[in-house]
């Protein structure tokens, strides 16, 4: 009877997870949070691409807590997986955990959030500072279109001020915007990445600075609340330009509705596909050659950095002209072609 029960349980487990037994072993993905769509999208994209190249993936959610992610790393190291994919809650705090994993012979891949203070086996990023650069280029274009020159007022709604991800975007954005002294940038944090905080910031600032030209928030869900505040203040689509970053489905919808002008996409599918393409080499600890690679049709460059081989995949600006392009992850149409491992 007990044996039958165990057989049934094993069968049930197989039904719950069809990718139960992948021939090349298990890879752990340490996701920083499951509270935003980019992160949940990254789980399904990595799972899909890794399955295509023969790996099973298990995900651990750190709930945006650095100490929890450190504990998870320690636990996973004892399980000796084929590799660990880390999207760090805190870039620097996780460096010792990366070193511990590599010392135990487990390759570590940095995903989306680059750790430059220690060596890792592979890094796949769009580049958060670079997202800031792209955003600045778009602000330059939008202000010229609106005011005839690169001058005006931009409200920058950051995420949590303790999150290096948002601070990097801010750094890139402000670095580029420094070339335009006639642009005033007002920066406020939506603490804990909470949407209603963003809404409050926008409604307050609209009163104090009624001449705001552009609201740039660091995540699409913050823009939703920003748009709600604009609407409540009697604004029409296009009265105040709105842009954000990450490329979530909701942002694409706001572009279609006319409320948002630009979304700077993080190329989620390509970032995940790049990890899968190089996984065999990473697991076998073979060198990864620098050079140009085609990742889901995007020309991407692998370079040997001080912290290890790094692939940077360009983030694109999504506008009304290209919003329906299936390549954008926010359109939720995962690529149908399977990725192939780099030989």
């Amino acid at each position: 009877m007990l044996q039958w029960g165990m057989v049934l349980l094993a069968g049930a487990a197989g039904m719950v997870n069809p990718a139960y037994s992948q021939e090349k072993g298990t890879v752990y993905y340490m996701v920083p949070t499951l509270l935003d769509e980019f992160q949940t999208g990254s789980v399904s994209a990595l799972e899909m691409f890794l399955e295509q190249v023969g790996y099973e993936m298990t995900t651990l959610n750190a709930d945006n807590k650095t100490d929890l992610q450190q504990s998870q790393m320690n636990d996973v190291i004892t399980l000796a997986p084929k590799a660990i994919i880390l999207a760090a809650v805190d870039f620097n705090a996780l460096a010792p955990s990366v070193e511990a994993a590599r010392a135990a012979g487990i390759p570590v891949i940095e995903f989306d959030r680059q750790i430059s203070s220690t060596m890792s086996d592979f890094t796949s990023v769009a580049g958060t500072v670079e997202i800031g650069y792209v955003a600045a280029e778009q602000v330059e274009r939008l202000l010229t279109e609106k005011n005839g020159a690169v001058k005006g007022k931009v409200l920058q709604v950051l995420g949590d001020p303790g999150d290096p991800y948002t601070l990097d975007i801010q750094k890139g954005f402000e670095e580029k915007m420094a070339a335009f002294p006639e642009v005033t940038i007002i920066s406020q944090p939506a603490t804990m990445w909470e949407a209603s905080n963003a809404g409050t910031i926008v409604s307050d600032q609209l009163l104090a600075n009624p001449d705001i030209d552009i609201v740039f928030s660091h995540a699409a869900h913050l823009s939703v609340a920003a748009v709600a505040s604009l609407e409540a203040a009697g604004k029409q689509p296009g009265d105040v330009y709105v842009m954000s970053s990450n490329g979530a489905p909701v942002a694409l919808q706001m572009i279609r509705d006319g409320w948002m002008q630009v979304e700077v996409e993080q190329p989620l599918y390509a970032q995940a596909a790049a990890v899968a393409m190089f996984m065999d080499k990473i697991v076998a600890k073979q060198p990864i050659e620098p050079g140009e690679y085609d990742v889901l049709g995007l020309k991407s460059v692998v370079t040997n950095e001080a912290w290890g081989p790094t692939i940077k995949i360009p983030g694109a600006a999504i506008t009304a002209d290209n919003v329906d392009d299936a390549a954008f992850w926010g359109n939720l149409q995962p690529p149908t072609e399977a990725v192939t491992p780099v030989p």
Binding site: S187, Q188, T191, W193, E194, A195, D204, Q205, V224
Partner: protein, 331 residues
């Protein structure tokens, strides 16, 4: 001290939070450019809508000598439930009802039902099973937020039905209709606390539960209603939050519990129970909103805003402690 000056001092002490609010508004108006204008004051009232409603339920339970840490998560679940049904993009199902105005009562009923269910469960575990309220509601704070994440899969429901958004957009005397809902809640619950037998019983139970029981008050029933009200009112806050942000994300309302606690304490509700009035809580909420607005307008470096917010709240609570001390000396 003459009886007149003693009465004047007591009047000030009884309404200290209102005087603090006026003082803060005066200081900010004098020092922050653009602060002194009707639009900003309307914003302060508007921004206090969700936090205010959430604080009402929390205050009721604290006045009764218990604790409800689940209010923030209940609000998030309520917002997500209403948004998943009545939002049209993301994970929203975009359900349309005919006639359209039915969306408002239907979504409200759905939200309130969600909150009432959690409130009843909290109450049952605390009152019937005799579990510690802090632990029970802490558990609810965690599992209810987990349920929000699980239901949504981390995705968001956006583009809430126009009938609901209308409540946030439509204005009367410069304020959105949602703000009037919050004000009406404060008026209604203040009346309940001050003028009804239930309110008096709640205060008596919070002051001394054993004595209240001996006095013939049905303690369990009154407390059960308090938890039920706390969950339901938190759900109303969530419904308003969804309307304000035109949908729901899995992290919606994160951190509001602590602000609600701050507002309740600043508003003069004793964490030991038995003391407190809801108008004071409303003043506490307005005070926090006024501070928040000031921080938004001052253009401070992002890293300092939380520090300043926390220190200002601390200063407000310190003043409240001084008030208690003066009151003891007067007695």
């Amino acid at each position: 001290m003459t009886p007149q000056s003693r009465r004047a001092l007591e009047l000030v002490l009884d309404n200290l939070v209102w005087f603090m609010l006026l003082a803060v508004l005066a200081i900010f108006s004098a020092t922050i450019p653009n602060y002194f204008q009707p639009g900003i004051f309307a914003n302060i009232i508007e921004q206090s809508t969700v936090l205010g409603v959430m604080s009402i339920g929390l205050a009721l339970v604290i006045i009764a000598g218990h604790m409800d840490l689940s209010v923030e998560s209940v609000a998030a679940l309520s917002a997500m439930a209403a948004s998943m049904v009545f939002a049209s993009s993301g994970i929203g199902l975009g359900v349309e009802l005919t006639p359209g105005w039915l969306v408002v009562p239907a979504s409200l009923a759905l939200s309130l039902a969600v909150g009432a269910a959690v409130g009843l469960l909290n109450g049952y575990l605390v009152i019937k099973i005799k579990m510690n309220a802090f632990i029970v509601t802490l558990s609810s704070f965690i599992w209810v937020r987990g349920l929000v994440v699980a239901l949504s899969g981390g995705r968001s429901a956006q583009n809430l039905a126009d009938e609901l958004r209308w409540l946030a957009i439509q204005r009367f005397l410069g304020l959105p209709l949602t703000a009037y809902i919050a004000i009406a809640c404060f008026v209604g619950f203040s009346f309940m606390m001050a003028k009804t037998r239930y309110g008096r019983h709640l205060l008596m139970i919070g002051g001394n539960e054993a004595a209240a029981f001996r006095a013939g008050i049905k303690v369990d029933k009154v407390l059960m209603v308090a938890f039920l009200l706390s969950g339901t009112v938190a759900a109303l806050a969530g419904w308003l939050l969804a309307i304000r942000t035109s949908g729901a994300t899995a992290n919606l309302g994160t951190g509001m519990l602590f602000n609600a606690f701050a507002a309740v304490v600043i508003g003069g509700v004793s964490l030991k129970g038995g003391v407190g009035a809801l108008p004071g809580v409303y003043a506490g909420v307005l005070l926090l909103s006024a501070i928040n607005t000031a921080i938004n307008l001052m253009g401070l470096p992002a890293h300092f805003t939380q520090v300043i917010h926390g220190l200002l709240v601390l200063a407000a609570v310190l003043l409240d402690t001084l008030k208690q001390s003066i009151r003891k000396k007067l007695a």
